[in-house]
């Protein structure tokens, strides 16, 4: 559930990376293939495609309205967004400068159009950002991550790491050491008893205790982000001891 709620900003950046890597060559190839075929097949009308963006230059975090129009097309897509209506508008918030590439496929061939949105990125402070960036490394799959990194469980009203919690933290630390591209969030959770405000603070202490263990084991603090959920997002909603124990946890997730 958390994964699907990732902001467009980040996924847009990842898509941009894929687009830059693959689609420039790809669209040239398509054009080359489509051009000689169009006169040979007489039966279709060549699609038309136009796309515009307003504004074409933004500051990071601002939004752009994309406006596209096609005719004679049976399948229309914008790379990075996916299949779209033949004509339409959409608001996007790219985190870096992006070519929005519209491809209209019809019986009469393929037509494409692009618009470039320039994102003015504030100059980042120089430092360690390169190594941990999502653009340069592969974080791997969620399944592989959760197979290797287990959640950390806590005692009653406690944020101390017991023996089991310490070994879970150590396992997570060694995974992070071996996968330098991976960044994680640690979610702090509490059982349903007690007071909601206090549990948010306690959840913060739980997640932070795990973060401190990771940092002590050599993981860069910048790779670990802590979010306390208190008792707001519970895994298990029954009023049983087993369920309470299930909820008293610090949960790892990939920070995409």
């Amino acid at each position: 559930m958390k994964r699907s709620s990732l902001s467009y900003r980040r996924s847009g950046a990842a898509v941009l990376a894929l687009m830059l890597a693959g689609s420039l060559a790809g669209c040239k190839h398509k054009k080359a293939a489509a051009a000689p075929m169009a006169p040979a097949i007489d039966s279709g009308v060549t699609p038309t495609a136009t796309i515009s963006a307003d504004p074409v230059a933004i500051d990071q975090g601002q939004s752009v309205v994309l406006n596209w129009r096609t005719t004679n097309a049976t399948a229309v897509s914008i790379e990075g967004i996916g299949a779209v209506n033949p004509s339409g508008t959409q608001t996007v918030t790219p985190s870096a400068s992006t070519n929005f590439h519209l491809v209209a496929k019809g019986d009469g061939g393929t037509m494409d159009a692009s618009v470039r949105v320039t994102v003015r990125v504030p100059v980042a402070p120089s430092g360690d950002t390169g190594a941990s960036s999502n653009l340069n490394g592969d974080m791997g799959t969620d399944a592989a991550f959760h197979a290797a990194v287990q959640d950390v469980y806590f005692g009653y009203d406690s944020y101390d790491l017991d023996g089991k919690a310490q070994s879970a933290s150590a396992a997570a630390a060694s995974f992070l050491s071996a996968h330098s591209a991976v960044r994680v969030t640690i979610g702090g959770y509490c059982d349903e008893r007690g007071s909601a405000e206090y549990n948010l603070a306690l959840g913060e202490n739980r997640a932070n205790a795990v973060k401190e263990a990771l940092v002590a084991a050599g993981v860069a603090p910048g790779r670990v982000r802590v979010v306390s959920y208190g008792k707001e997002k519970q895994f298990c909603t029954e009023a049983t001891a087993a369920c309470y124990a299930e909820n008293r946890r610090a949960q790892f997730n990939l920070d995409r």
Partner: protein, 441 residues
Amino acid sequence: MLVMRIFKWWRWSAVLAVTAVGSVRAQDTVFTGTNKGADRVRIAAAGFHAEVGEAAPLKQTFDSVLESDLKNAGVFDVVAKSMQPQAEPAGPKQVDLAAWGGGATAAAYVAFGSFTAQGGKAAVNAYVFDTHNAQYPQVIGKQYTDVADDAAARMMAHRFADEIILRLGGGVAGIAETKIYYVHAGGGVKEIWAMDYDGANPHAVTRLGGIALSPRVSPDNSRVAFASLDKYGFQIKMYSLLLGRMVSFAPQAGTNIAPAWSPGGQLAWSSSKSGDPEIYVADASGNGAHRVTNYKGPDVSPSWNPKTGSQMAWISGRTGLPQMYTMDADGANVQRMTDGGYATSVSWSPNGQFLAFAWNRKYGPGAPGGQDIYVMDVASKKWIQLTNGLGQCDFPTWSPDGRHVAFAVGSGARGQVWTMLADGTGKHKLAGGDMPNWSFK
């Protein structure tokens, strides 16, 4: 027996106030509550006189809200409708003081008047007469005008009730015009809602579609601070009641929860920007944030002393289970107030004397007892229990006159907001909701 006479301070003279202080020290009990040790003023509320037509349904609303406000106030012995004359005197010429002051009615005061509505406008002529002062009986004579609708009839009744409470209740302003802000849960989201003090008119304030917690309304009723969950965790957010939209509060690193207003308009809250939840203080826009606690473990739920603005109570887990503490607003002079159990959600009373809080004194796996609302006298650390057996009680909040405490029973979508007098009597449910916060005025 818990005798309560704090409110004598407001009700009666300075001489009596000295007596009350003396008796607090002399007896080994906590004193809080409403008007104990003095007879409640017996008052009758006559049905208001109304010509048939447009005014009739509005007059019904006015009558029932006025009666309910007087009953809720905690300082009156309101004559039951079945015990009083059927007459609905429209004005001073029609009222028969002997009938209201004598017999089974035996009211010391009678409230009466007329309600007219014409052409979309309503007017109320409202009086309170002393039944035993034949020569100069008038205590209050007021006129209210507003549009002719149910909400306006309700508001005029609240204003008249507050006038009566102010005059006959010892010069302390009533609370009939105050609001309670709270968390409304439903459909997987939690939003900030508001309602009248009596549970009427519940309505949404925010529509953010996420998790919003801990609404706290500013002393001037212009803003509501609350905590809101986004991808990066909880942040303090600010909603302007004057502008009807969100206004900026400087983003802070870490988890930021549990805001609290000082009487001067500063904000305290719990922030983990240092890596550990600590209490911070900043201005109403989040600027100039500085830390006032410095101890490993959860520090959360600050509440300023509304009387002085120079002290805070808060909840800390520095020794294990959460306990209630007080300190000066700069972090000095830390004092632990509870001696064990699980104590949370403190609210400092308007007169500065009491702390209301949620406490589970036998907390632990399998332990008996529940989480209930308690009130502690700050100076003596003596406490009384105000709820028992209602369910899990939390988030007590004082009414601005200090005579009432609203609180949550249960939490989340199953939560309910209840209210009671500060001596634990008169408990009743107001609405479904959680984390109530009573406006300052």
